[in-house]
């Protein structure tokens, strides 16, 4: 034995070395191609390069070691590859802590721990697409190195190269799970192609020549098809799910906070984003950014100024001198959020508690980090709460110069302008303020429905100018759509308008009076319109979301004063706010089906609560139904497959096929059916269990004649029926055994089924 082994290793033709390197190259291609799929979840950056360098180091080292080393090749190959991977990671991430870049010192380990922790925090808190910071890059490079090590070992050292697909699928599964919509099809195809190349290059003779390659190609192709077809077909149940190493992913806002807003609203479980306490009695809207520039699918933020230190950042220039105002002090504590934009109340004056350089947009005023993201910490903001009266607003014009960028109407469907004009004319509104109110009423009047999912299903989920026309037609959407539509429509009426993105006030913390809790479900977008001498005024066109400001809410007067005149807005802004607070609290506790007020949006009324609850209930039911259907399918499929196979075999005129049916039935029933026993031995054992000597003998004779007697000219007589034997076998076992045989026919798993010409059932690929 040892003798033959030595002979095998020493007879190592040169061509095999070449083939070995080619195989390693194919593995490198496959891992590299799989890694590119991360581009859908990560911002551009050095992550791909560092991961590829690590992968290349691992695979090259493995190949070199296999080329040089003759004894204990698998061990040395894996050791060498792993060492190369570690060295590559050290050189890239911790070169300064090592001795000559190779020997790790204590600092290297500490650095690794730091990087891992930073990576975990990143995973936990970032949204998609994430910033590939050092921690993430390290984790990706290390993970890629491990995958490369696995793939290399499996492809070159084992006899089952197809197993390379497992680590590769592991890579591919991550972006598919994290960003269910954005399937990296190109990466997938490239990976599949490289995988097939691996299969083709893996010494074919070992796998049974061309038949092995053919089977591998077949399996590879079916896996590929399943991978392309199945994931998009599955419901996206993973959003907001637990991310490895993290916990519930926090809220994250990128360069443009409006982009991910819909996804954050659709989170099944809300995360607490921040808490704030204010000396004002009611909650505050917190603004992240103002958006003014429409371009196609999205809206771009207002241009920011030069980097500067914070401190005195206001008061904003736009605030009219005549407007009544109160000074508000707010302390904001960030929790689960990563943002480039600092959440601020409207019209901030000064900001204390944030060090460093910041970009301040003076039109806002909004504050943006110049680099990196704001993650945790607390700060205090002094701001002005402006309360223009209805009379002031009615009297104001909208002609102030210098606001051209807020009047620009992009090249859009003329239907938008026509609709705006129609609404205004129908209401008989002439002043800019009454026109704005008419627009707002047209949205909240009941014709439009709040829906977070309709835009996704309708394909108009976005924020740009293009989707507004569709939205006006479908009349369903969420805050971004309402805000975009009202902003655009106001602009067509020549009223300067912009979209603000931020948070609605949130819920008052029942245990800490005066503290408000803002969750990811409080993310909001609303339009702000500019009136001469007054400044930017917030409107609330989104039905059942947010708090309509007193000056902009004519119906609040009905609730508060029971007066019939809709245009008779209250002059006291505080009243409707507090009134609404009360109704909100009362209705919230009454109608809240879950009894967990924290999970439900603050500031929404009972209708919203009910609607949200119903939507989640519906989703849960649909999911449960889908799961049940899948389960039922999974339970039924083997049985049906087995029945089909049985019918075909019993119809067959080949006695061996019929014999196989008997054997598989015995196997299903838990009777002896080992493929290592001869037909005669099996028949004897069955006869001992179930009787049936005569029937069995006929079946046995037929199969022996056919399989072993070599008589090609046997007259094609009808082979003996196996029905009686099958019945006898079934009767010989207890009822539960028969049930198991129907639901879980083990014979489908047998390798013996490979003997047959029929294809095996396509493996069911489930999302990892």
């Amino acid at each position: 034995m040892r003798e033959t082994h030595r002979v095998r290793t020493s007879a190592d033709p040169r061509s095999r070395t070449g083939a070995g390197f080619a195989l390693s190259a194919a593995v490198l291609l496959a891992v590299g191609a799989a890694l590119t799929s991360f581009s859908v979840v990560l911002d551009e950056g050095g992550w791909l390069l560092s991961a590829l360098v690590t992968v290349a180091a691992v695979i090259a080292a493995g190949a070199l070691v296999r080329y040089r080393v003759r004894v204990w090749r698998p061990l040395w190959s894996v050791l060498g590859a792993a060492t190369a991977g570690v060295v590559s990671l050290q050189l890239q991430f911790a070169a300064d802590t090592t001795l000559l870049g190779i020997v790790p010192l204590v600092g290297t380990l500490e650095r690794a721990q730091e990087l891992i922790r930073a990576g975990e925090v990143s995973i936990a808190e970032q949204a998609i697409p994430a910033d590939a910071d050092a921690g993430l890059r390290f984790l990706i490079a290390a993970g890629a190195g491990v995958v490369a090590l696995l793939c290399d070992a499996v492809a070159t050292l084992s006899r089952r190269p197809a197993l390379v697909a497992l680590p590769l699928l592991g890579i591919l599964a991550i972006p598919v799970v994290l960003a269910p919509g954005a399937l990296p099809v190109l990466s997938l195809l490239a990976t599949a192609a490289a995988f097939l190349l691996v299969l083709a290059l893996h010494r074919p003779a070992v796998n049974g020549g061309s038949a092995g390659v053919r089977r591998a190609l077949l399996v590879g192709a079916s896996v590929l098809v399943a991978a392309v077809v199945v994931p998009p077909a599955l419901p996206p149940v993973v959003a907001g799910a637990v991310v490895p190493g993290g916990g519930i992913a926090g809220l994250s806002t990128g360069i443009n906070p409006v982009l991910e807003l819909g996804d954050d609203l659709r989170r099944p479980t809300a995360v607490t984003v921040l808490r704030y306490s204010t000396d004002q009695s009611a909650g505050l809207y917190l603004t992240l950014a103002h958006l003014d520039e429409f371009d196609g699918q999205t809206v771009q933020p207002v241009a920011a100024g030069e980097p500067r230190a914070l401190g005195e950042i206001g008061p904003p220039a736009w605030l009219g001198a005549a407007v009544e105002r109160t000074e508000v002090s707010t302390r904001i504590q960030l929790e689960s959020v990563r943002t480039r934009w600092v959440p601020l109340p409207s019209a901030p004056v000064s900001l204390a508690g944030l060090a460093g350089e910041w970009l301040v947009a003076p039109d806002g005023v909004t504050v943006q980090s110049s680099e990196g993201v704001l993650r945790e910490g607390a700060y205090t903001v002094q701001s002005l709460d402006a309360r223009p009266t209805v009379a002031q607003l009615e009297a104001a014009g909208a002609d102030q110069a210098g606001l051209e960028s807020y009047r620009a109407v992009p090249d859009v469907d003329p239907a938008i302008a026509a609709t705006a004009r129609e609404v205004v004319d129908a209401a008989g509104a002439t002043s800019p303020y009454s026109q704005a109110l008419a627009l707002q009423r047209s949205f909240t009047g009941g014709d439009f429905v709040y829906s977070e999912d309709a835009p996704v299903e309708g394909g108009y989920d976005g924020s740009g100018a293009d989707i507004v026309a569709t939205f006006l037609e479908v009349r369903a959407g969420y805050c971004v759509h309402f805000a975009s539509a009202m902003t655009l429509m106001a602009r067509t009426l020549d009223i300067p308008a912009r979209i603000a993105v931020g948070f609605q006030p949130g819920d008052e913390n029942p245990s800490v009076p005066g503290e408000f809790v803002v969750s990811s479900n409080d993310l909001h977008a609303w339009p702000e319109l500019h009136f001469d001498g007054i400044g930017w005024v917030r409107f609330e066109p989104t039905p059942s979301r947010g708090e309509t400001p007193g000056y902009a809410d004519p119906t609040a007067a009905v609730a508060g004063d029971e007066a019939g005149e809709p245009d008779d807005a209250p002059t006291e802004p505080e009243e409707p706010a507090s009134g609404e607070e009360e109704t909100d609290a009362a209705e919230g506790t009454d109608d809240d089906p879950t009894g967990i007020p924290d999970l439900i949006d603050g500031g929404n009324d009972g209708q919203e609560t009910g609607a949200t609850g119903a939507r989640f209930a519906l989703d849960a039911r649909a999911l449960a139904l889908a799961a049940l259907a899948l389960l039922a399918l999974a339970l039924v499929t083997p049985g049906v497959w087995r029945v089909v196979r049985r019918a075909r075999r019993r119809r067959s005129r080949n006695p061996v096929e019929r014999w196989r049916e008997v054997r598989d039935t015995a196997r299903d029933l838990g009777l002896p059916a080992e493929p290592t026993r001869t037909p005669r031995a099996l028949a004897a054992r069955w006869a001992a269990v179930a009787g049936l000597d005569a029937d069995l003998a006929a079946v046995l004779d037929a199969v022996e004649e056919r399989a072993f007697a070599g008589r090609r000219s046997v007259p094609e007589a009808e082979p003996p029926e196996v029905g009686a034997v099958l019945r006898g076998l079934r009767d010989a076992v207890p009822w539960w055994r028969r049930a198991v045989a129907v639901v879980a026919p083990l014979s489908l798993l047998d390798r013996a089924s490979l003997e047959q010409t029929e294809p095996r059932p396509t493996p069911v690929v489930t999302r990892l």
């Binding site: 005669r680 056919r706 007697a709």
Partner: protein, 332 residues
């Protein structure tokens, strides 16, 4: 003495069956309660192999060999192997005939249809080798002249595994020449009692009349040669033999000769069973008998489950039980 022609007309299955059962019946009358040993011995005879019987003294090793010889109306010689036995005592010598002035070959006891070599392990290796060469080649060369042996030619050798003092155990290479090794084992109580009764009036061998003549035996052997072995069965036999070569508990796997002899013996068993084709069951039934004596266990051999392997038989049985039986759906 010229080698008798081996070609003979195969006979029909019925005739074969009748003859086979009458031989079996006759031998079973002598060997009480040992039908398996009888069957194997007969199969080896019909498959043109040689038989090694290994057992303790007194269980009927020689009796079996002699019963087989008695059933066939052919020449039978018996050689008692002793340490001073010389090769020439087996093969024969050339004797100078003074009257004719020539050397004349005097055939040894090896020139018979059935040769019983009793206690073969008592002879010196040189003598053993002489016998084994004859067995393999069917020829004897003395003084440059080659003499063909009888056909059919069956050597039934017995050896005693217990009394090892002053013996020369056959090396594996020589055991490989035997198609099968059987041990007879003690009879059960009933058979032994019957034996006591029967043998009061002389040996049952005396009462045994020949059942078949040499021509008939040749035809039976020709029939066995015609038995069909399907490729599936060939694959099965090869798979078993190859598994012995990869078995870590065995020091040396079985040789290709073992494969050949396994299939040949299976043919004989199939024919005796009234079939004209070999079943995997024939291979199963004969594997241990045909393969075990050719192989040695490694020291401290173990089964995969960690049990110590006590004998080669055990290992071969396990291999047979673990080898998949091909049942092809296309005939042949």
């Amino acid at each position: 003495m010229g080698r008798e022609p081996m070609s003979a007309e195969p006979m029909g299955a019925e005739e074969f069956g009748e003859l086979a059962s009458s031989i079996r019946l006759a031998m079973n009358g002598v060997m009480d309660g040992k039908p398996d040993a009888v069957d194997t011995a007969l199969a080896v005879l019909l498959a043109e192999g040689h038989l090694l019987i290994e057992d303790v003294p007194g269980v009927g090793k020689t009796m079996l060999a002699r019963a087989l010889a008695r059933c066939i109306d052919g020449s039978v010689n018996r050689i008692q192997f002793t340490p001073d036995l010389l090769p020439a005592d087996i093969t024969g010598v050339s004797v100078y005939r003074q009257q004719l002035g020539t050397f004349e070959f005097t055939p040894g006891p090896i020139f018979a249809h059935i040769v019983i070599g009793d206690e073969i392990n008592r002879a010196s290796p040189k003598t053993q080798s002489a016998l084994l060469e004859c067995m393999e080649e069917g020829l004897v060369t003395v003084d440059g002249h080659t003499h063909a042996l009888a056909a059919p030619f069956l050597v039934v050798a017995t050896q005693n595994p217990i009394e090892m003092e002053g013996t020369y155990a056959l090396p594996e290479a020589q055991r490989d020449r035997f198609m099968a090794r059987i041990s007879i084992g003690y009879p059960d109580a009933e058979s032994e009692a019957r034996m006591v009764r029967d043998r009061e009036h002389g040996s049952p061998l005396e009462r045994l009349a020949p059942v078949i003549d040499v021509t008939g035996l040749r035809r039976m052997i020709a029939t066995v040669r015609e038995i069909y072995v399907s490729p599936a069965v060939e694959r099965y036999a090869v798979a078993i033999v190859q598994a012995t070569r990869e078995e870590p508990a065995l020091r040396l796997g079985a040789s290709p000769r073992a494969t050949l002899q396994l299939v040949r013996a299976a043919r004989a068993r199939a024919a005796m069973d009234g079939r004209d084709f070999v079943l995997p069951d024939d291979i199963d039934a004969l594997a241990t008998t045909v393969l075990s004596h050719r192989m040695l266990l490694v020291p401290r051999a173990q089964h995969p489950d960690g049990r110590p392997a006590r004998s080669v038989d055990e290992v071969v049985e396990r291999i047979v039980a673990a080898t998949t039986v091909p049942v092809p759906s296309a005939g042949g």
